[in-house]
């Protein structure tokens, strides 16, 4: 046990990080169920106003700082070295330190529940001056600030380790333009973590000082400054919470269509332009403050159509002419792409200041980012789980349970979040502990609450699938899906130093597919050659 927690094997660190993140996913999900129970009726009394504020804050904080972001780093830390043919990560102790800092960050954040004043209660972005010592006193909130700070520092260290690995430990022949699609998404993500997360560390540290008497974020300028600093981190992070899951979905689609991912160069360029744009769009969170140049941020945000559109082009290019097998991983990957369309379209919507004047701070925005983060990233995450579980454990997940899981999650997700688009348009603000009786609101909220219950059942089926598949193992073999990238070349689970046999020649971003295609060509040529040989 202790050996596992102090191991410098990137796979071990990543698994521990992933398992802890998964725990936080369940915890954050429980908070979500409490929110939806409260909102099932107008004037709900399941939670007091104070408890509700704590719960929605900890739901968002747990999901963002302790599940979606660290999980994308866990995927990167596990898979990137395997995909680029590295024996280990660069600076493994840095990654291990980062993991432990993140662990303590999470525990410190959650320790606020023990305080009488309650834990963090100002939302996951805790705008100042509300989050200052004047308006939210108490050590519970202090723990929230320090927890986020420490978790962010830890995630920077993990990202540094992954970035260094890609820079220094690629196998011979693995040029940057032969790196697999997932590795590219991971690279862009860790670079954004390194670029943007220090700002979160700075802003949380300043907030801590502010809370203890320095009064930094005061008045108009202070409030706007906090938002500028926070969203300079806060928008890049949404791409950190998106790219690796896009990578998962893309790899699952390519493997299940038996084709390499279409338009590799365009995809790489789109990743790069995505990341460049991502650090220039933060002001679209501030259209209604009167403190930013709306036109500029509308411009950069709307331009996101271009890289996002390229992904869909590549997806369709991969599907066309493929030999598609509908395994669970493929279902989740397609679910990711289709549902993310709604998240993306509503994102372009809120990128228009005039439309955002209405949408901002309403349930429309809640629906928008849940369509990107839940209907998008979490579906991509499950695509990744079903795709790589055999590699990580040596056993397959049950396909039948997987499909039940998918159907429940698909229905639950849309039942939960689609009504919220309408509620927001109809004027329901987010983060309200109670809503008045208003025509139509109760019905829509009820559908949403029932949907959340269906999601919970779906997640329970997934957890059951994990248990069943590990208890009664169906051996997966090294390469159950005709994988295309190097992780499928090694054993399942991979040995301590990843590869025991020599690597195949790395000729493209899908080296194993290259091998199979060449073998098929040779066989074809041999067949053609044979009758001719008979004639002679």
């Amino acid at each position: 046990m202790i050996g596992s927690l102090t191991s410098t094997d990137h796979k071990r660190i990543a698994l521990n990080l992933g398992l802890m993140s998964l725990f936080y996913f369940v915890l954050g999900g429980c908070f979500a169920l409490m929110i939806r129970t409260q909102l099932a009726v107008p004037g709900g009394t399941f939670l007091s106003d104070q408890k509700y504020n704590e719960i929605f804050t900890m739901h968002g904080s747990t999901m963002i700082y302790l599940f979606v972001t660290p999980m994308s780093l866990a995927l990167a830390l596990y898979l990137v070295p395997l995909q680029i043919g590295a024996r280990a990560v660069a600076a493994p102790r840095v990654a291990l330190t980062g993991f432990w800092m993140w662990i303590f960050g999470g525990l410190i954040m959650q320790s606020g529940w023990l305080s009488t004043g309650g834990p963090g209660q100002d939302g996951w972005f805790s705008y100042a001056p509300l989050s200052s010592g004047t308006y939210t006193p108490g050590w519970g909130m202090d723990m929230w600030v320090l927890g986020v700070d420490l978790a962010a520092l830890g995630m920077i260290l993990i990202a540094v380790s992954v970035a260094l690995t890609i820079a220094r430990h690629r196998a011979p022949g693995m040029t940057t333009l032969r790196m697999p699609v997932f590795t590219w998404t991971a690279l862009v993500s860790v670079l954004m973590v390194i670029a943007a997360f220090p700002m979160l560390v700075v802003v949380m540290s300043l907030l801590f000082i502010d809370r203890h008497g320095a009064h930094i974020f005061v008045n108009f300028q202070g409030s706007v400054d906090y938002q500028n600093l926070f969203w300079f981190f806060g928008h890049p992070v949404v791409y950190v919470m998106f790219f690796p899951y896009l990578g998962c979905a893309a790899e699952a689609v390519a493997a299940n269509a038996h084709k390499r991912w279409f338009g590799y160069m365009a995809f790489v360029l789109s990743m790069m332009s995505f990341s460049v744009l991502s650090v220039s769009v933060w002001g679209h969170h501030m259209f209604v403050t009167g403190g930013v140049t709306n036109q500029y941020f509308a411009f950069t945000s709307t331009l996101l159509i271009v890289p996002a559109g390229i992904e869909y082009f590549d997806l369709i290019g991969t599907l066309l002419g493929g030999a598609i097998v509908m395994r669970t991983a493929m279902l989740f990957a397609l679910g990711f792409f289709v549902q993310f369309l709604i998240g993306g379209a509503s994102g372009i919507w809120t990128a228009s200041p005039v439309l955002d004047y209405h949408a901002y701070g309403s349930y429309f925005v809640v629906a928008h980012f849940h369509y990107t983060l839940f209907a998008g990233s979490v579906f991509g995450f499950f695509a990744g789980v079903y795709h790589w579980f055999p590699k990580v454990t040596g056993a397959r997940l049950r396909e039948g349970l997987g499909k039940v899981h998918f159907v429940l999650l698909l229905i639950g997700t849309n039942a939960t979040f689609f009504p919220q688009l309408i509620l927001g348009y109809d004027g329901m603000p987010r983060r309200i502990a109670n809503y008045p009786t208003h025509p139509g609101w109760q019905l829509l909220n009820d559908i949403s609450s029932v949907g959340a219950g269906i999601i919970a059942v779906g997640v329970a089926v997934f957890l059951a699938n994990l248990v069943v598949s590990l208890r009664r193992r169906e051996a997966a073999g090294d390469d159950p899906w005709e994988g295309q990238t190097l992780e499928w070349w090694t054993t399942s689970p991979p040995p301590r130093f990843n590869f025991e046999r020599p690597l195949p020649p790395i000729t493209s971003y899908a080296p194993l597919l290259d091998l199979r295609e060449r073998a098929a060509e040779l066989a074809e040529r041999a067949q053609e050659a044979q009758p001719r040989g008979a004639e002679v």
Binding site: N53, D122, Y127, L130, Y135, T136, N219, F220, A257, H258, K259, W261, F262, G263, Y264, M265, A266, V288, G290, A298, F299, T302, L303, I305, V306, G309, I310, F313, L315, I316, L319, G321, G322, A323, I324, M326, L334, V338, L341, I342, A345, I348, W349, S352, P353, V354, L355, Y357, H358, Y360, G361, S362, G427, P429, R430, I432, A433, N434, Y435, P436
Partner: protein, 230 residues
């Protein structure tokens, strides 16, 4: 933004901008395009999956540079078109409105957890939120200058009927000119989380005819013409 001098003397101020109307105009482009894109791509993906399901041999096409490039051009055109529409609408809402000359101004102050609506011209102050249920009363089709500020944390002054909100920032006054184009009773709320009773920072908006508004104002805010009018 400096106020432009009036070109002519008018008895009643005129509205250049109908907030709800501009939103609806922009909506009428964005909504069909957004829904169209979602439906189109979903259809393509579903059809592609159905057609190529369980095919034996995949093709090996994995690049189409010229097609990709033309597609990027289409995407750029789409972004440009959307930005053109957005800038047009934003210009009206944010800039042109500053050229209106509202006769009526209302000071809106957010404080935990109430809204104060102060009419300096009529010496009326209404309170709504956790402390009271006094409405915001405005005349129809007339630009009104709202001076929005906050006494403590950030609040957001949101009236869904006119599709507009603006943050009430601490110790700072934002001025926006807004016009209500329909008579009736609507609701408003705080759209920026502001602590314990955030949900209670709601208010009612009564949009009255010019004469009914004047009756209400002359009574010092005591008359309730919306009761009889509707």
């Amino acid at each position: 933004m400096p106020r432009a001098p009036p070109r002519e003397k008018r008895l009643s101020p005129f509205a250049l901008v109908n907030n709800r109307g501009i939103y609806s105009w922009l909506f009428s482009f964005y909504a069909p395009i957004g829904i169209g894109v979602v439906v189109l791509y979903t259809l393509i993906i579903v059809v592609a999956v159905l057609v190529y399901r369980r095919r034996k041999v995949p093709n090996r096409v994995h690049e189409a540079h010229r097609l990709e490039l033309s597609y990027v051009v289409v995407l750029i055109c789409m972004a440009t078109g959307l930005l053109y529409l957005t800038y047009t609408a934003e210009h009206k809402v944010d800039d042109a409105q500053a050229y209106e000359r509202p006769a009526l101004s209302i000071d809106v102050t957010g404080a935990r957890w109430e809204w104060l609506f102060h009419y300096p011209r009529y010496r009326i102050t209404n309170e709504s939120g956790a402390v009271g249920r006094q409405p915001l009363v405005v005349p129809v089709n007339e630009p009104i200058a709202f001076h929005i500020s906050s006494d403590d944390v950030i609040h957001s002054f949101w009236i869904p009927e006119i599709r507009f909100k603006r943050d009430a920032m601490p110790h700072h006054t934002e001025t926006v000119d807004l016009t209500f184009s329909r008579r009736g009773t609507f609701s408003g709320s705080c759209a920026e989380f502001c602590g314990l009773l955030h949900a209670d920072m709601v208010f009612t908006v009564h949009v009255l005819s010019d004469s009914a508004f004047r009756t209400w104002a002359a009574s010092g805010g005591k008359a309730a013409p919306w009761r009889t009018a509707s």
